[in-house]
Structures are given as C-alpha cells and as structure tokens.
C-alpha cells in the first residue's frame, strides 16, 4: 500500500501545475487572477504537508487572500467598464 | 422615562456582544486558564465599548424560553432537511439521464427582522433542490432544481413554510 502523505503531495503538485497552466493560457484577466490565487492556495496546503503550519498560514493569508482581493479591487477601479 | 426605555435594550445589546466575543475567544483558545481568560475579558470589553453599534447581528434574537425551544427544534428540522437534500442531489447526480427541470420561482416571507430573513435564506439554500437568489423586500426569488409549481402561494407553502414557523418565534 502506498503511503498517504506522499500521494497527497503528488496530487497537489499536479493540481498546481494545472492551475498555473490555466493562468498562463487563458485570455481573460479575471480568470488568470483566480488561477494564480488557486496556485497560491495549493502551495499553502503543500507547505502544511511539509509540516510548516506557520508558513502555510502566512501563504494562505497573503498569497491567497490578500493578493487575490487586491488584484480584483485594483482591476475594478482601473477598468471601470463591465466587461472582462 | 423615555431615555430609560431606550437605554435598556442598548445595554442588553452590549452584554450579548460581550458574551459572544468572550465565547469565541474561549473556543479559539480551548482553555480556561486565568491569564488567557483575563486577556480575553479585557479585549472583549474594549471592543464592546468601541464598536457597540456595529454588530446588531446576534441581538435580534428574542431571549424567551419559547424562542430557545423553537431554536432547538429548528436545528433538528434543519439538519434533517440538509441530509434529505444531499440524498436527493445524490440521486439526481448518479442517475445517467440527469432528471432535472430547473426554474426560478418567487415566494413571499412574513419575517420582518434582518437576521430572521438571513437565516431563512441560508436555510432555503441548504434544503432540497432550492437556492436563494435575490431578496427584494418580502419577496424571495428561489432557483429550484425541479420546479413543482410556479404559483406563489403553493411555492411558499412548499419551500418556506417549514422554516418560517420556527423562525417567526425566534426572530419575529
């Protein structure tokens, strides 16, 4: 039987690659920001799997929460129109 | 006389806010040690004094025995409906033909308080095949996976009546 934690780490690494691929492939900015936030979220869970809960908390708060929020806020202020 | 009657519910609001904050602090810490308890009381007191007008969130609950009984019955009914909702969704998702007939219907609520309406909207979202989409005064627009009737009264009886009877006692 394969060990559980390495398998989960592999799953999350593959998912990170997939999300990063979406972030560079897609042409709408909002989806790219969302995919970058997803990469950050999965990275934070991977920090946790490597037994670093403090780093994981910081990454979740800054990378996934604050950066995504800030990007959307600024994008809404800059664009001003209703299209993507 | 009038100032006294205005002051009384405000003190009660502050007491409820203080108790909620302290409860959250104790649950977050998981201990009842003296030092953490003192810090929690201090911080809760400061927040209560500074931000007393901001949170009317928990204070609309009527603290009568009937309201507590209705609250317990409400949560029992709510979890029953939540489990039923999941099994119905599982049946839909697992059947190969996907038997759905979605639509958006309109229902009416009798609840007046904001917290009561919020709880009603949340409950509708978590019950079988329904999702609250918009609240406009007393009207609630609900997206259904399988529409059974588009008539307002019939849809109201089917979707909201079960929760409303409990929430009316709790929040009015």
């Amino acid at each position: 039987m394969i060990e559980l934690m390495p398998a989960l780490t592999l799953l999350f690494a593959a998912a990170m690659i997939g999300a990063a691929f979406v972030a560079i492939q897609v042409e709408q900015i909002s989806i790219a920001i969302l995919a970058a936030g997803l990469v950050s979220l999965l990275a934070s869970v991977m920090f946790l799997f490597f037994a670093a809960p403090d780093v994981a908390m910081t990454e979740a708060a800054i990378g996934s929460g604050l950066t995504t929020f800030l990007f959307f806020f600024v994008l809404g202020r800059v664009r001003g129109d209703k299209h993507d | 006389m009038s100032s006294k009657t205005e002051l009384k519910p405000k003190m009660r609001d502050r007491a409820v806010l203080f108790a909620t904050l302290l409860l959250f602090w104790i649950m977050l810490n998981g201990t009842l040690a003296a030092d953490s308890l003192i810090i929690g009381i201090l911080v809760s007191l400061i927040i209560t004094v500074l931000f007393c007008s901001g949170l009317s969130f928990f204070t609309e609950f009527r603290a009568t025995p009937q309201a507590f009984a209705a609250g317990i019955l409400y949560y029992i009914y709510f979890f029953k409906e939540l489990i039923k909702a999941n099994f119905r969704l599982a049946a839909i998702v697992l059947s190969p033909s996907l038997p759905i007939k979605p639509g958006i219907v309109k229902v009416r609520t009798k609840l007046k308080s904001r917290m009561g309406r919020l709880m009603l909207a949340n409950s509708i979202t978590l019950t079988p095949g329904t999702l609250t989409m918009e609240i406009d005064g007393e009207w609630i627009y609900v997206h259904c996976v399988t529409v059974e009737s588009t008539d307002i009264d019939e849809a109201t009886a089917q979707i909201v009546a079960g929760f409303e009877s409990y929430l009316e006692v709790m929040y009015g």
Binding site: M1, L4, M5, L8, L11, A15, G18, A19, F21, V22, Q28, S30, I31, L34, A35, G37, L38, L41, L42, S44, V45, L48, F49, A51, P53, A56, M57, A60, A61, S64, G65, T68, F69, F72, F73, L75, G76, R77, D81, K82, D84 | -
Partner: protein
C-alpha cells in the same frame, strides 16, 4: 482499521478534488471557475483536517480556520467585482 478508513476518506476526497479541478480548467464562464474555486477551498479544508489526523498535530486546525475565513472573503470580493461594484 481507523487508518484504513482515513485513507479511504482521503481517496474519495481526492477524486472530488480532481472533479472540481477539471471544472476549474474547463469551466466556460468566470462564474463556473469561481464556484470551482470555492469547492476546492472547502476540499482543501478537508485535506488539512485529514492531515491533522494523520500527523496528530492539533495546530493544523488553525490553518483550516484561516481558510474558512478567507474563502468567504474571497468569494464576496470576486462577486462584487463581477457585478461591477468596486
């Protein structure tokens, strides 16, 4: 026995994670991706709780609490942006 059950739960959750990820990659509109993002966050909370069980460290649950907070704030911010109200 309990370890086997935890591993089985992790396997089922992993499949759910894959489905949500596929929806995120495919999803025709932005809203499909947002709901997939929300589901992925909740599934990540589940993974964090499971890893706390496996490693027997209660401090991991604090990270899960931060996640529960952040997913709500993030989805509200994105919805406000998509309504055009920033």
């Amino acid at each position: 026995m309990v370890e086997t059950l935890i591993a089985f739960a992790a396997l089922l959750t992993g499949i759910a994670f894959l489905f949500a990820l596929l929806r995120f990659i495919k999803g025709p509109s932005t809203f499909d991706r947002v709901i997939a993002f929300d589901v992925l966050t909740v599934v990540s909370i589940t993974f964090i709780v499971l890893s706390a069980l496996i490693e027997e460290r209660g401090i991991y649950l604090d990270v899960a609490l931060v996640y529960a907070l952040l997913s709500f704030l993030g989805v509200i911010a994105i919805a406000r942006y998509l309504e055009g109200r920033f």
